[in-house]
Amino acid sequence: MDKKPSIGKSIRVGLIVVLCLIVYAYGFQVTQVSFKEISSERRQESLTRVLRALAKPNLVEYEQKETVIKAPIYVPCTEEGAVLPEPDKSQPYLVLAPACADPRTEIQIEGYNFTPNSEGSLYFVPPSEVNLNLGSFKADDKGAFSVTAKVPPRPETVVQYVHAVSLQRVGSPTITQTAIDTWDKIVETIFLALLATTLGVIFSIPVSFLAARNIMKEITSPISSLSLSIIGWPVGIGLGVVLARWLSQQSQSIYANIWLTLLAIIILCVIAWYLIRWAMPQEETRKPKLSIRITRIFALGISGIIMILVVMLVAKSTMTAGTNIVSPLGAFGFLGSFLSNMGEIINLIIPIIVGLGVGALVSNFFSKIGKWIYLRFNPSLRLIANIVLSGLAGATIFIILGNIINWFYQINDPIKIFYVPAVVGALCGIALAIWARKEDAIPVGMAIYYITRTLLNATRAIEALIWVIVFVVWVGIGPFAGVLALSLHTVAALAKLYSEQVESISPGPLEAVRATGATRLQMIIYAVIPQIIPPYISFTMYRWDINVRMSTIIGFGGGGGIGFLLIQNINTMQYRAASAQMLAIAIVVALMDYLSSYMREKVV
């Protein structure tokens, strides 16, 4: 190198060094780095105490036998001198020298015949029978000890005593309550991680497709179709909820005893199955007549309603059956409550699913009408239709937004939450329709892609430990809040990782399947999913590792699991109990780590 050092460069380097110094100095200041605090005696002592406690996890305990050896003493010495009985030398005994003393003078306490290496405490016991501490002793391997102690200021005329209390373990060790609690909570922790991972995976798989650019970028729609499908959603959801409510009433009236209901379920299933088989032939070379198609749609609708009814009946009967088998099952009663819980969950989510399902159907149907308008109308008519529909869609979106805002801020003024958003939305929609009149393909897919990505990034940026606070408010302190918080974070994190895998699939098979005339969903099933299974499995395991770790501390925020116990014990300074929990965490995390790397080897 023949580069000459230049002054400018030296100054720049100097400035950078100074800047770094300033940054770190400020860092010390704000993080309160203090070596004085570290070396202060009080801190050292408490550190030692805590570390020693931590080194003795409170896992087993012994029953302890207390033996008390007494020696008389006069404080102060009497005139005639102490007349004290000779101790029994076949038993443990104490020798005090001198045998009488003035308050605050030192005496020598010697013990003989104690259990070798035993430990205990020494007390001065006045006639009031309070124990005044004189210190502790530790016998040597011959069972003898010698301790100097100061006589407390308790002058009396009568004889007083020095007690040596030795504690001895007897019998075999027993498991402490702490150990039992720790075990309970560690089991809870593992299942918390399991449920969170499962829920997270279930939801992140569909979301990951919405967040994959290569899948979404092809989804475009003419503006009439887009507008109508937006309008279709609230209409469909409304219809769906009404339908679900009506069906729920019907199912109440159908529901008789459990066997009759089972019979009804089977019959309904058979009917639905045959309707579906008739309405959805496996393969057709020619498009059937319109009348047949309408009858088929009708039949599918009926079978859909039957299926919803069946699910409702199933939910209701599992609920009843589950509750009824809890006590006959004895120790396996949790299976019964699991069943009844599942029934209840299904009951709760049916209206949501039916609402969303009908919403999707209606929206899809409306978008077909929109496509028809796009294809069949002449340009000027199409523009008018676009303006009207897009205005309506804009108004719909803004009214929904207005209602959400109203829910938060309780404005409750129909002008502000209904008319103003409707007009503004309509204007936006009209403007969009006019501006995009030349475009016949609005990139809906990319819009959904960006919205999904943004939501995922925002959700992932907030740690599960923070999310759990929100869920604790909602569902109360306990593992369920932890499951929800961890699931949410898992969805956000996994959906991103998964979607990157979808984006990096090889496009060849996708192209080949598309060329056969497959629909978009078929392309995903036949060309995308086989390619993403291995990375999905390995990312799921990676997430499982993270969730095990997270579930051990989610309790710090009230989310149940072992962390809940740990933080309680730390706050009440029960370090030996906390130590037991830390040990459990270490073991579980290491075990799960090992397990998952073993599985990874086997599966991937």
């Binding site: 393969e283 098979p509 080949a512 399947v513 056969t516 005339g517 036949y526």
Partner: protein
């Protein structure tokens, strides 16, 4: 009858990959498409079934305007056009049978196929096609366990599942050795002769063109520079197609 009229494709970024190409292919013809790599052969074949959207121009097939078809109609059209690829484009982790059955996706009801349920007749048909290309015993192996030549035969079986009236083959033998190349080309020839399927096949080697094609079109930088019989390609024409510096080999 396939009519390609003034077909032009300009990629995002401005690459003119196909420049105003027009030609006709009568039913049952074996047409070879030749040209240097980058001359627009793949673009041309993919514009015909609209795997790539042409920028302008028309593709008419039996008087059906493919370029104006709606998404739904396009699926109906695509299922009658089989496609064979240079890199086979099989789904590696799926079984050979599933790959072949995928050729049926345009026909079966989407709701059933999503649950991986195909009609019995389709499964029998798939076995028949595998038998035809001589690898019936591999039906349940994973596609990536097969050799290149075998994979391309699976690709052909997949195209045959579509009951195609036309096959688009994009350099089907470019990643195979010469012996295998002939065996694959013979299958295409057989399908062309026995089933009367129109074949559009882009090729690299002129000896293959002479041996199998009824007619040739040649592309150079997206322009159609030749349209005629294979034996009409003399040295002069050859230089027109492949450039002045090209040497004739084989």
């Amino acid at each position: 009858m396939l009519k390609v009229q003034n077909l032009t494709k300009i990629y995002e970024g401005g690459v003119l990959a196909l420049d105003n190409a027009s030609f006709e292919v009568p039913k049952g013809q074996f047409l070879a498409v030749i040209g240097l790599s980058g001359s627009g052969k793949s673009t041309l074949l993919r514009c015909i079934n609209r795997l790539i959207e042409p920028t302008s121009g028309k593709v008419l097939w039996n008087d059906l305007d493919i370029t104006a078809a709606t998404e739904e109609d396009l699926r109906q059209i695509r299922r009658k056009i089989g496609m064979v690829f240079q890199h086979f484009n099989l789904v590696h982790r799926s079984s050979v049978l599933t790959n072949v059955l995928a050729g049926r996706l345009g026909y079966v009801n989407p709701a059933w196929s999503i649950m991986n349920r195909f009609p019995k007749e389709d499964i029998e048909k798939a076995m028949k096609q595998l038998n035809r290309v001589g690898i019936a015993e591999k039906a349940h192996q994973r596609a990536d366990e097969l050799s290149g030549g075998q994979q391309q035969r699976v690709g052909i079986a997949r195209a045959l599942m579509q009951d195609p009236a036309m096959i688009l083959a994009d350099e089907p033998v470019a990643s195979l050795d010469p012996v295998l190349a002939h065996s694959i080309m013979q299958y295409l020839e057989l399908i062309n002769k026995e089933d009367g399927v129109t074949v559009l096949c882009s090729l690299h080697f002129l000896d293959l063109v002479h041996r199998y094609a009824h007619r040739v079109v040649a592309l150079n930088e997206g322009k159609l520079v030749f349209d005629g019989l294979p034996q009409e390609i003399d040295d002069h024409r050859f230089k027109e197609i492949y450039g002045k510096d090209a040497e004739r080999v084989g």
